[in-house]
Structures are given as C-alpha cells and as structure tokens.
C-alpha cells in the first residue's frame, strides 16, 4: 500500500531563536525528528521546503533555512502572521510539531561551481538564502565557488534577521556582506539606508561568471531581476524562490499554481527565464 503523504512525522523543537522583534517577529526553530530512524534518513537540499505544523492547529509551508550539510537537525524561520505561525511562536523548546517533506526542487548548486555568487535577500525572504549560503560556505564546499556577496535588507534595524550570523560571516575575508534598512530612526545608521535594490544599484555587481540568487517580497524580486538584467545578467543567471498559499505540498490541492506550474511540487526555485515563460497570476 502506498504511503499516505499527509501523515506527518513528529519533530521536537530543540532550540528557538528570536531573530527579530516588532509586530511581525521572526523566530528560527531548530527541529529534530523524534523517530531515530527517520531522523537518520531525513535529508534535504538547499531551497527545499517543509510543512511544519501543530497538531490541532494546522500546518504551513516553510523554506528550510539551515545548512543542508548538517544532518542532525533542520531549521525553519517563521514570521508571525497567521493562525499557524502565531501558534508556532507560542511554542516552547521540547514541544512536538508535525513535519512533512521536504518538498519541491532545490537550487542547482552543482551548476554554480566555479562561479561567483551574489545573494540578494529582503525581510523573511532571507530564510531560503540562509540555507544555501550555509551550504556554499560549508568547509567542504567553499572551494567550489568563487567570490560571495550577500546583500540583505529589512524595513528597519529591528527587523534584520540572522544578524549574528551575518556579522560573523562578514568577518571572513572570503565573503562580502552588505546590509541595508529601508529607513532608519537613528541619526547615524550603521547600514546603508534605502531599499535592497538601491543597495544593489550602488554595488553594481559584475555579471560575468556570476549567479544571482534573490528572494524577498514580490515587488523586491521584480525590481531586483530588472536591475540585475540592466547590469548584464541574463535571465538564466538569476534564480529566485517563489511563495504561494499551500496546503498539500504535493501538487494536488490546487491553490499554489502559477499557470500549469505548482510551486510546491515544481518549485519553489525558478530561474528568471522560467518565470518569464510562466502564464498565470502571481
């Protein structure tokens, strides 16, 4: 008998980190599958998503935000917004969650080998990028890639996520981190003040032998892609991950389609070329 794809595994919260506060706080949950055998078998690739839920509340799809080279645990970063995410934010270390997945495709890191990488993230959109940044910076992988630039921005200082980690990697001499905030209340802001694409325009990255990976609010993605193209990036050099409302995770429940493509099943990672060819509402 075929397995019931809706039957979840159970995972325990082993750590919770408050990434940013404000009215829409973001927390990163470190999870471990309860079942030892499943825990050993669980693996995923950067860019993939998991359905994380609370039994009795419901489940939501989240991008895996941890380095996929680490197998003992996995992490999701969650912004408090709806019913499930609010309940997740109330959860404590030791609580057991339901997990299904991983789902979807992933970043084709194999094809990026030998190339420079440019990450452009905004807000909670940094979560899937964090996973792939973790992967490429992993000791085993770093030598496979050229220079690495990380652009990241949020609405204000308080909303910047993963700040410790970003500060840590910015100390490395093989990574350049460029942080920005949309607006700052402080008189002397330590970050670039302006939207993420403004920061990108300032940096004028070289398209040659470079791959750009972007994720953030739909408007930011749109503007970023246009801007990158103006710098000479071809549509095949730009990758992004899309989000839609999701329920089933396996392309059955219908709602996450963009044209004939189901984001949960065929995505969430798409090249700008693939997005150009999509017909549908997004």
């Amino acid at each position: 008998m075929k397995e019931n794809v809706y039957l979840p595994s159970l995972a325990r919260i082993v750590d919770i980190k408050l990434e940013s506060g404000g009215s829409r706080p973001i927390k990163t949950f470190r999870l471990e599958l309860v079942d030892e055998k499943k825990k050993k078998e669980f693996s995923y690739r950067a860019g993939q998503c998991v359905m994380v839920g609370l039994l009795g509340v419901g489940e939501s799809m989240f991008a895996l935000s941890s380095n996929s080279m680490v197998h003992d645990f996995f992490e999701v970063s969650v912004m408090r917004h709806g019913k499930v995410t609010s309940a997740l934010h109330e959860a404590e270390i030791g609580d057991v969650l339901s997990v299904r997945g991983p789902f979807g495709n992933s970043f084709d890191v194999e094809s990026w080998k030998g190339k420079d990488l440019l990450f452009v993230g905004g807000g909670i959109g940094q979560a899937p990028l964090r996973s792939v940044i973790g992967f490429v910076l992993d000791k085993k992988n770093r030598a496979d890639f050229g220079s690495i630039d990380v652009l990241y921005g949020a609405s204000d200082e308080g909303a910047l996520c993963f700040l410790d980690e970003l500060n840590n990697i910015s100390c490395r001499d093989d990574v350049n981190v460029h942080l920005s905030v949309d607006c700052s209340s402080e008189s002397e802001c330590q970050y670039f003040v302006g939207f993420v694409p403004d920061n990108l325009a300032r940096l004028k990255p070289d398209a040659k032998n470079c791959v750009a990976i972007t994720c953030g609010p739909p408007v930011m993605i749109k503007v970023t892609i246009e801007l990158l193209e103006s710098f000479g990036f071809s549509k095949d050099q730009i990758f992004t991950t899309l989000e839609q409302r999701m329920k089933c995770g396996v392309g059955k429940c219908g709602r996450c389609n963009i044209g004939g493509v189901y984001v949960c099943r065929d995505g969430p990672v798409f090249s700008a070329r693939e997005i150009e060819g999509m017909q549908g509402d997004f």
Partner: protein, 342 residues
Amino acid sequence: MKELFICTKDLEQFLNFCCRDAKLLGPVRDNQGVVRFCQASSVSELVLEDAAKSNMSAKKAVLAQTEVLFSFANGDDGPSVSDVEEKDRVVVVGLRPCDARGIWELDRVFSENVDEGLYARRRKNVALIGMSCIKPDVTCFCSSVGGSPGGQQGLDLLLSKVDDGFVVSICSDVGEKLVTEASMISDALKEALNKRDETLKNAEESIKKSVKTQGVEKHLESVFNSKYWEKVSESCIGCGVCTFVCPTCYCFDMQDESDRQGGVRLRIWDSCMYPEYSVHASGYNPRPDRLNRLRNRVFHKFVWMKNEYDFFGCTGCGRCVRLCPVNIDIAELVNGCWEAKK
C-alpha cells in the same frame, strides 16, 4: 469485453446483488425534488432514470467532501499520529458516463506525479455501475470533450437501456467479478446490441451543445491577457457552486479539528472561486479579482490539465452551466475565446 443482457424486471434484483456486502450510493430524489448521489439502503430508493439531472455528482464516492487524512492523540508522553483505516466497500449505481469519466480523471490526478496514497486506498474499494445516457440534457456537451453517452471510462459495468431490458457491458475485472454468480443475466443477443448502438447514436446526435476544443489549449494561452476575461467574469458572484457540483474539480483545503485529547487533520473540498483560496498569510492575493479566479478555473480545466494529462478537466456534464446562479456557461465561454482579441 463481454456484453450481457438483463430483463428490466430483474434489474433491481441484479443491482442489489451487485451491491451485496457493500454500501450503495446512487441518485436519490429528496422532498424538494433535488436529485443527489446519496447513500441508499436499496436500489428501489434510487431514481435511475433521472440520474442525468442529479445536482451533485458521484465524485464524493472517491473524494468525500470532508475526509479524515490522519488522526492524532495527545498522550502523557507527547502526541502520536495514526494513519486512517481502510474504508468500506462502496458500489455506485446509476452514474452517467460523464461522471464516471470524472472519476477516471481523478484517478490519474491523484496517482500521477506524486501518488498521494490515500485516494487509492478508498478508490480500490469503490465499484462503479454506470448507466448510458439516453436523453442528454440541453446543457450536456460530453461529446465535445472526449466523452460520449455510452462512454466506459472509469466504469466497471455499463448498463444501456434497450426495449425490454439492459445490455450489461463489462468494462473491467472488477465488473467481471461483480456479475459472476448473478443468475439473472444472459448473453446479449445481436438485436439487443444493435438496438443499444442505435440508441446511443441517437443520444449522441441529440446533444445540442458543442465546444470547439481542437487546439483550444494553445489558443487559450494566446488570449490569457485578453479583455475578454473581464467581460465574461463581470457577472460572476464568486460562489462555489460550479466547483462543488463539478465531477472533476478536486482542489481541497486542509484543516485540523481537535480537543485536548486528540484530533484529526481533514481535507475538505475547496473552491478556487473563493478569494480566500489563494490569499497569502501576508494578505497578498495572487488572484485578487473574479477575473483572475474565473480565468484560472477555465485554464486549469482546458489548458493546464490538458497539457499535464492529455485530457480536459471537464467532462461536459453541464452541471455548472445549469446550476450557476447567473448562468456563466463554460461551453459558451470556451467557444467565445476563439473570437477574443489578444
């Protein structure tokens, strides 16, 4: 496959025999005069002649409107989950070939690409005994979308009315099994078969509605951004009738129901015509207007399903045409796209 014959007077007995040790689902007429596929205790409760006019299709036999996906319990040592058990055997009697074709489509949707597992468990316990369509309704257009009044797709047995009885076509191994040991059936005579063929031909010819579907999946793509969609969606009131009465609409919502001891995760039919269906947690909705939602529905049925499975997600049963409170006619809508300006 084999073709048998049964006299009209023996039909009820025969069908009851086929439903032995299984739940019976068939067209039942309620006090308001509405025909729906419902559970019945005997074939005598069914209105087999009027099944073509049933407002709710037989879809729920394989995809219940509310269905448990799994259950969970909150024990002292934390929560545990348990898979659903196998469902009872069900025999659906009296569904028309369009409804059966709908189930045949669902079979592929739920098993291809990712086999979700759950659907197949229920499906293998469901047998379908269909009835040929002798008198298509004014809203029927099955022959335009790959079906026919005597279509056998999805069915296990097909009964076709002839003068004094029914030709019983065996369409599958399951059907073969159903009729073994049925004493009241005999081999169909040549005359009966000829009569059946003639009746079905007449039925097919009496279908008035038609949709120009040749190459429509390509053409629709070319008019995706047409003003046409604005015009046709203007009268849509955004209810879910078209999707809920449709034999092929399968989209669903997932919700939890629980108390302190435990609960279930359910799937419940959902409708792409609701704004809530696609709205993000952030409040952003990729399909904010009736235009987007109606276009999405038409494209899903006539473009994307065609591209993915090589069939249209529409079996021409005509229910959405007949039951839409404002008569948005999908056949007319698809035909109209050929004249739409790009």
